[in-house]
């Protein structure tokens, strides 16, 4: 290998290490609980998907800022996506909802407010209608 290639390879290795170490570390806030601390959830929120409908728990969803919540989504027909969005439209988090499986993801909200839920995976032509405004209330 030419010395210039070897130097370039070292640069590539450096970028690889820096990027992956940072993004797998708790410097990405949610990696702290998703990969490292894995705290026991204080509540489990069950959300059902079927026939283009999203079914929330009776009484709605309420969580506290910083409280570990486990979102468990199931589908009885096709693949959907559980996406939680802030009031300004930016995404807080999402996961795929695979039929026949328990799809679970733990989350700690970092700011109070009202959050929307939208299906993030295409499930047929009526997929754009799968939206619930202000589905989650997060309190300080």
């Amino acid at each position: 290998m030419d010395v210039r290639e070897r130097r370039w390879l070292y640069v590539l290795i450096g970028v690889f290490l820096v990027f992956n170490v940072i993004t797998l570390s708790p410097l990405v806030p949610w990696q702290r609980w998703l990969l490292w601390s894995k705290p026991a959830p204080t509540q489990r929120v069950n959300i059902g998907f079927e026939n283009y409908q999203i079914t929330l728990p009776t009484g709605g969803i309420e969580a506290k800022v910083g409280e570990p919540v486990e979102f468990a989504a199931t589908s009885n027909d096709v693949t959907y996506g559980l996406g939680v969005f802030r009031a300004d439209g930016t995404m807080a988090f999402q996961m795929q909802v695979i039929p026949g499986y328990q799809n679970t993801l733990g989350w700690e909200f970092d700011a109070p407010g009202l959050y929307d839920i939208r299906s993030t995976e295409y499930s047929g032509p009526e997929h754009p209608g799968m939206f619930i405004k202000q589905a989650i209330r997060v309190i300080p």
Binding site: M1, D2, V3, R4, E5, W8, L9, L12, V15, F16, F19, N20, T23, L24, V28, W30, Q31, L34, L35, D77, V78, T79, G81, G83, F85, R86, D88, G89, T90, M91, A92, F93, Q94, M95, Q96, I98, P99, G100, Y101, Q102, N103, T104, L105, R118, T120, E121, Y122, S123, G124, P125, E126, H127, P128, G129
Partner: protein, 547 residues
């Protein structure tokens, strides 16, 4: 009229057919972008198109939008990209190996089968409103309350024709490489040694530390371009086999329902299917696209700058590693699937995907060093497009690595970032510019005609580059703001400003493409173009009659 050889003429036919598919693909893309900006703007056109659709009901705008989204990549990938690649390889492989294509009859057969297959699969979406998208997530393609039954069956048949045809093409390329039609031929063992890097490994073990900074490959080895084509074709075959099984499954379920014997979709695990499907599909997205593209850079750049490829022995190893990496990266499409084991998501989804960073990083380094060491170089049209394609793969690949990350994917999965900043940059700025470079380079070789207008080349280059980047990055920014892909937002669309900028970018792109088509038409002349469709005798007699 220029005398064009038989093989050269077929290469041109493949290129022209590919460009027709690209035009259809671009038209569909512009329609979908318009729908995102103003969903009612196309109602009149939709109504007119619905007259062509034999579906027996009035489709909704969403059904039309999603069926077009399903048809769109079929004509882009299997129409434009594959047909261009097939035509180019059918010319370049025998040219470099100095022997004939092993089965010449397959050249026209591949041409027509590809057109029939792509038209059938594309038509299943466009005419029959098959709307399961190219991802075909189980059991959506067989959920006939959402997806039309006939459309699903026709799509599966079209996909099967395409995949069988690709297998035939790959078989012909492999057969050509190993055929014993000239004294300097390569046996099957030699092919394996060369393409799997065994001979380089043997040499490395025997000559380690010889101090030669840039060792030359063994003269018995295949040209590096042929090594890329052969290794890329391994991915191509795996992809075709996997997609054939997925299409076969959909076909079985569709036919069973058609004959009133419906099967239970729950018999197939959606997660297992998704793993199988993405493993096969990534043989294209993260396999042959990268390896073929690298091979074309390795071939074109030395030809264009008049210098041997820098670090050729290293890039031979890189191509092998690229093949191994492509076999292991598919989980980056399943990072949001929580039932997928976390070790798979981190290892296959994130870390092995970074293997592409090394292989493409070294490939681009070798390409750029070759150009740098050959200074001063003349920036010919193909070289300018090669540089554009390197830029496209660089930024599109970087965007891909950002999303193929277990942490960042939580907020990027299925957003516009994925499809725009990554996929469209790779396909439009990267791959398409490389195909244009090949066309600009091949036309003088095939026809002895020089590209007519440098000004139109400039319009093409800058229109395509600025248009594709404007489109990709405005939508990518919308993705960061939360805009999903595969989503026809109801009015008012909160991402309308970004969508409008993307539409403007698409129009600039179209101007660039139009300049290219005019230039090609001016270069070839309409008589040569007509001679690609009609037999030469008829063109000659028509010319005689007109004079």
């Amino acid at each position: 009229m220029t005398k064009i050889g038989w093989l050269e003429k077929w290469t041109l036919r493949y290129a022209v057919a590919g460009l027709v598919w690209l035009a259809i693909n671009g038209f569909e893309g512009a329609l979908m972008r318009t729908s995102l900006v103003d969903p009612v703007a196309l109602r009149g056109l939709e109504a007119a198109m619905n007259l062509l659709r034999p579906v027996g009901f009035q489709p909704t705008s969403a059904q039309v939008f999603y069926s077009m989204m399903t048809a769109h990549p079929i004509c882009g990938i299997y129409g434009f990209a594959y047909m261009s690649v097939m035509g180019a390889f059918y010319f370049l492989a025998p040219h470099l190996l100095k022997k004939d294509i092993r089965y010449r009859r397959l050249i026209p057969l591949n041409f027509w089968l590809q057109i029939v297959g792509v038209f059938t699969a594309w038509g299943a979406g466009f005419f029959l409103l098959f709307n399961s998208l190219y991802t075909l997530y189980w059991p959506l393609p067989v959920s006939f309350d959402r997806v039309p039954l006939v459309g699903s069956i026709v799509f599966a048949i079209g996909a099967a024709v395409i995949m069988v045809n690709i297998l035939l093409f790959s078989f012909n390329i492999f057969s050509t490489v190993v055929s014993k039609s000239n004294p300097g031929t390569y046996g099957f063992g030699g092919l394996l040694r060369s393409t799997l890097g065994i001979s380089r490994l043997q040499r490395w073990l025997g000559k380690k530390g010889d101090g030669n900074p840039e060792p030359r490959p063994d003269p018995a080895e295949l040209p590096v371009f042929i090594v890329s084509v052969t290794r890329g074709s391994i991915d191509t075959v795996i992809n075709a086999v996997v997609l054939l099984t997925a299409g076969g499954l959909i076909l079985v379920y569709g036919l069973a329902t058609l004959f009133k014997m419906p099967l239970d979709p729950r018999a197939v695990s959606p997660l297992l299917y998704k793993n199988w499907f993405w493993w096969g599909l990534d043989m294209v997205a993260d396999g042959n696209v990268l390896i073929y593209s690298a091979g074309i850079w390795y071939l074109l750049i030395p030809l264009l700058v008049g210098r041997n490829l820098f670090g050729e022995s290293v890039v031979r190893t890189v191509i092998l590693i690229d093949l191994l990496v492509s076999l292991g990266v598919w989980s980056h499409h399943l990072l949001a699937d929580q039932p997928q084991p976390v070790v798979m998501r981190i290892l296959s989804g994130q870390l092995i995907t970074w293997g592409e960073f090394f292989t493409m990083g070294l490939t681009i380094f070798a390409s750029m060093m070759t150009i740098w060491l050959a200074r001063p170089v003349k920036l010919t049209p193909p070289l300018r497009f090669v540089l554009g394609s390197i830029f496209g793969f660089l930024i599109g690949g970087a965007a891909g690595l950002v999303q193929a990350n277990v942490g960042l994917n939580v907020v990027l999965h299925n957003t516009q970032w994925v499809i725009s900043t990554h996929a469209h940059t790779m396909l439009l700025t990267g791959l398409s510019m490389l195909i244009f470079a090949v066309i600009y380079a091949l036309i003088p070789m095939l026809t002895k005609l020089e590209i007519r207008s440098r000004w139109l080349v400039d319009v093409h280059l800058w229109g395509w580059l600025i248009g594709s980047l404007t489109m990709a990055y405005s939508m990518g920014w919308a993705g960061v703001l939360g805009m999903l892909r595969r989503m026809l937002y109801p009015v008012p669309n909160p991402y309308q400003p970004e969508s409008a900028i993307a539409l403007a970018g698409a129009l600039v792109l179209a101007v660039g493409f139009l300049a290219f088509l005019i230039n090609i038409l001016m270069t070839l002349g309409w008589k040569n173009l007509v001679s690609l469709i009609l037999p030469e005798r008829e063109v000659a007699s028509a010319l005689e009659a007109s004079s």
